[in-house]
Symmetry: D2
Subunit: 391 residues, 4 copies
């Protein structure tokens, strides 16, 4: 990575965090991802709704005492007033808060990187897209798996026609680790993800599902036009769906399937995408995410990996080290932060910043994801009836 | 394999073939499979409806000239009259003929090994099951992939409770080789498999689909109670469906998906089964069919293979050589012939023969397969409506 | 496979077996391999030195009573006198007998397919090569793994310059199954393979080693010119070496390593070949033997498999079924029998028979193998001193 | 990771870098690795012998202008005099400088993390070990691959007796990427790694080799007692060895092989370790480094991965995220920095710091590595003669 822009910028991008405190898996992930390239630093945070956790989390990130907040509204106001105010906020709260937090920070002129799902529902999602457009701020949705170089290579190969017109799209996010597949006896120990009051009975679609659907669209450029869904609950004591099978008709006649699960016992994370075109296919599995399989019909399969000839420019831009050295998930996530930070620095410096955003998941992607979730939920309620996805 | 029964029998089991001549891929496969263990020999054949091919095929198998037939009815009559008559007939014709041929031979007292799908439709299938019952003959349906030792190990592991109660069943038979994914310009060059007049528009379900569905049931012991199907035709000039997505509800609350395709471009044969239970999962892929993956939730995955400790007795019975030496598809197929021949010899010798049949696909399995096909076809015609599978 | 030559020949090739009886793993393997294509049939046998086993084995193969022999000399004489005499003999005895049996049958005008190692020592090997030359009989050495289509594809790729000039050769045959890695308490239960009186302390080199070395030469066309060896015995109670590391200098400046082991605990069969050239490499592992990896430097790896475009003609000739259906070890072995039988039939019919032999392991290959063994054994005795391999 | 010690320490560990500037692959790697966990920050650097690069590199890391040095001696002196002086120095220079730089900084009371090989030769290595002992400073040798959780799991499994007594050790570091396997026409463009004046003709052993040998010892606890080596040069225009085969006798009777190469064309990085014991084996391949294969003799193979039950405590301490999310090479490297920084902070805080160092490669490991290199080089010079490794 060319670090001359950082030199010109003269400092790291200042990040404030809402949520993502010491008790948050995803918070830890964001922190590693944003530190890796040395382009960002957390300088402020309201890292938990629980003030004790919020304070401890801030101290453990070595934040200045006056920038450790216990309420995000307070942080918004005070940071807005500082000369050394944060450049951007990371929204790593439960989904209910994504919309109000993102909206408020955008409207005060901060850039935003938010966890998925974009918002609580489609109406909020559309409203947030309006806010992004009207404020002109930079917004990135944390579909972190798109940071993998080989996902970008897949997208480039589809675009280049390497597998011909896309016909079949198969995506899954089928988790089966003990921590997710089993529901603890004590309801108090349940993660908000498994509480119907948080994201509804079909929260699975926002949590795991939104990644797989987004990735299918990211790689193929196609979106679902209608869906038929079958959901079920398998884990004893669970109050939300923990398995969803969705059949989908996509733009231009492609058919596809999405499978989301918390009870694929024995699976680890289960994120896989298979795209079949007229002349070949592409297969990518997050757990061996350094590799992209291309299978031309009637010919030997090709094993793409970072570092070889023929990588898309998109891939070069997110490559740190040479072939044979897996960069893994956290640095794939770091690629989102790298491009997000580069966009922020470029705009500050009066340089073109849109190229850095071109491959990042946008608020519009989030709107499409929420429309898919809404249609699938409705289809399931109606016994699997084919249901139109709003555009 | 203990060869003392062969010694006692004093000769090989005499096989007659209907169909499966020199122009038939599956015929070649049957011939290798039946020869491998030296328990069977082809001594008669009406190996094609085309008399020239029928004659050439018989000569190339070194059949005696008077046992090379050009009409299966002629063969039936003449073989029935010979003192050295065939013991069994192999039905390797297009599906239209499975029923009349099998029925006629059964009724004349011959044992039968038939290609799938069992018959043309469910009514015929039920009728054939009646014939098998009333004649008391030995009948085996050539769901050849069940001959793989690791498929049998999977069945034994499910039965032993190794993955707990089954919740999710995922089967696919998704072919994408050039020979199947493309439709030749000249309609005369099309395989009967791709002609709607042979097995209807949904012939895919009988050809590829019946294997995957049978295998799902074979391993889990569960059957579909209702299905929702989405079929489509992608290859230009094709007149039948070449892709089918089926969502299914199984006995006892399990959900599942079946995917059948001729246009999974870049796939080879694409037969894969994944079974998820309460505490773990099993994954088997025919193209690395010597291996069975067991994934206990929260623990390291286990790679089962023929020859290790802990194999089911079912597996021992179909093992030829030691670990580390793949036996492959043709010898998996040969396992059906081995057990079929052992059953025939045992009955002739007055020994218990049913144990040899216990793990072979039966006529009842074929009936269940036809019921599934009929329900899926109906569901697709009705826009994916959930449709009951007859029991 | 074109079966018209079989039709012209009018019968199967008649095989007599020496050794390979009911108690022999390799015997069972030969019998399956020779039956698979229906080109050969065993009609005579002296299948064990133990008369009881010899008789039982013959009966279990349904041999005519007068062709079940208890002494191979007797079989030689009587078969030589029959009008329907065997065409060829298979030598599946312990190594001590390879030379006398092969020599005697060759001299009486029989063709021979013999187990490896070719003979007991290099002097015998050279003498046998003379016999083959002087009698003009067909001789095939059972380096069965060369029957794998992908081994042949590897050879064709090297010959075509796909990896440039060969620089490094890495072969291993490292077994670690319980049956081989452990020595039974009771010396009487030890396989002859583990008795020093059979093949000397370094019998490992003839048993496992000869395959790996032959395969290295088969694929690259290169032979070792000098070697340095380190051998050891690890299993308690064992009297022969059970591990050998050999470093080798090959023709033309290539370097290489060979590893042979009976104590690679946890390995199954361990036969692997890796060839590195100037511009890329090839990797083949018997246990996933349907696949050949080609790795061009700086480019994505290519996964070759039977059935795709670009297979060598050599590969087409030993292909039975379409892609996606593993043929495995036993049918790789059957490829040797197929070509051996085709050569025999062709010569009987006055057609060119040498093309069928071109890719089969020859007596000359066996001589080279024995020279390698002799040099390695000597090097080990001399503390690893670099030792010339006789040419 | 518990971050309370960071909170107590109240700041990040201050790092100074010698070498590792903008033109250095390994420098970039160190910077990512040290940033990931937020425990360290670079605050000073003499990052190149070329002053222009040194300055640009410092600016690009946002160093204060007065802490960007062009000479490491200058940095040593000035940093030693500052109240906010660096805590530790990272030595990422070519090997010639490892010794003088490390020695000088240690003697001024700085802790040191140094690139491998430890020093230029064994004498220097021993001398450096003395300095570490006499100064009592913290020293870590950057055998970065030992940071992989599964390497630590392998070590724990061997120690727990999971594969019985170790018999065979097989390590390789066989690179074949275009950047390393080919020598540029222009000698000026050659990396110092390929210049004989830097590390001698056998520099390969220090660069690639030292990792593989250290890892073999790290996992097994065993060291080579004597070696026999064969080295060669294959790439045109190359002046140093680019391939080395080493056979080794280890403590306690184990035998082993090491293979180091720059011309394993088509390989990526090629670091692999296989350990065979009495009852099973362990296999680890850096390029799929999240996985550790355990193969118990006669039983199914076990696929260990981070996050499952049964991980050693050593593994827990270097785990960031849940199963199914590869952490990859850079975060494996970061594990060394994590433990190094924790040791420094702990000692400052008066807490036990040795536990953090227990699993880090030490100066003694470096001495053993240099002894191995010296013996192998000597053996090669003497035509492969078995040569004692100094202890």
């Amino acid at each position: 990575m060319d670090r001359s822009m950082l030199e010109a910028f003269g400092r790291r991008v200042r990040i404030g965090m809402v949520g993502g405190g010491a008790d948050s898996v995803i918070g830890r992930t964001h922190l590693i991802a944003m530190r890796a390239d040395g382009l960002c630093e957390v300088v402020a945070g309201a890292m938990s709704v629980d003030p004790t956790i919020a304070k401890a989390s801030g101290r453990q990130e070595l934040l200045a005492p006056d920038r450790i907040y216990t309420d995000w509204r307070d942080m918004l106001e005070k940071e807005a007033a500082r000369p050394d105010r944060i450049d951007a906020v990371v929204v790593a709260t439960p989904p209910r808060l994504h919309f109000p937090v993102a909206k408020a920070f955008l409207e005060k002129g901060f850039d935003v990187l938010s966890e998925k799902p974009l918002t609580h529902d489609l109406a909020e999602a559309r409203s947030l897209a309006d806010v992004v457009r009207s404020t002109g701020r930079i917004f990135c949705l944390a579909h972190c798996y798109t940071g993998y170089p080989m996902v970008r290579q897949a997208r480039a190969l589809v675009e280049a026609g390497s597998i011909g017109k896309v016909r079949l799209i198969d995506g899954e996010f089928s988790i089966g680790t003990a921590g997710v597949a089993l529901e603890p006896d004590d309801p108090a120990k349940r993660h908000w993800r498994f509480r119907p009051d948080q994201e509804g009975k079909a929260g699975l679609l926002g949590e795991a599902g939104s990644h797989a659907y987004h990735m299918a669209s990211y790689i193929t450029g196609l979106h679902a036009v209608s869906v038929s869904a079958l959901m079920a609950t398998y884990a004893p004591r669970r109050e939300v769906f923990d398995n969803a099978y969705i059949t989908a008709k996509f733009d231009g006649g492609a058919h596809g399937r999405l499978w989301y699960s918390y009870v694929a016992a024995g699976n680890d994370h289960g994120l896989t995408i298979k795209i079949y075109g007229e002349t070949g296919s592409l297969v990518w599995w997050q757990e061996e995410g350094e590799i992209l399989w291309q299978k031309p019909m009637g010919k030997p399969a090709i094993r793409h990996a970072r570092g070889y000839e023929g990588m898309a420019s998109d891939v070069e831009a997110v490559t740190r080290i040479r072939e044979g050295h897996p960069e893994g998930y956290l640095l794939a996530f770091a690629n989102l932060y790298r491009l997000f930070a580069q966009a922020i620095m470029a705009r500050h410096l009066g340089r073109p910043h849109l190229p850095f955003l071109a491959s990042l998941p946008s608020v519009e992607d989030g709107v499409k994801g929420m429309a898919f979730i809404e249609a699938a939920t409705l289809s399931n309620e109606q016994g699997g009836a084919w249901t139109k996805v709003s555009s």
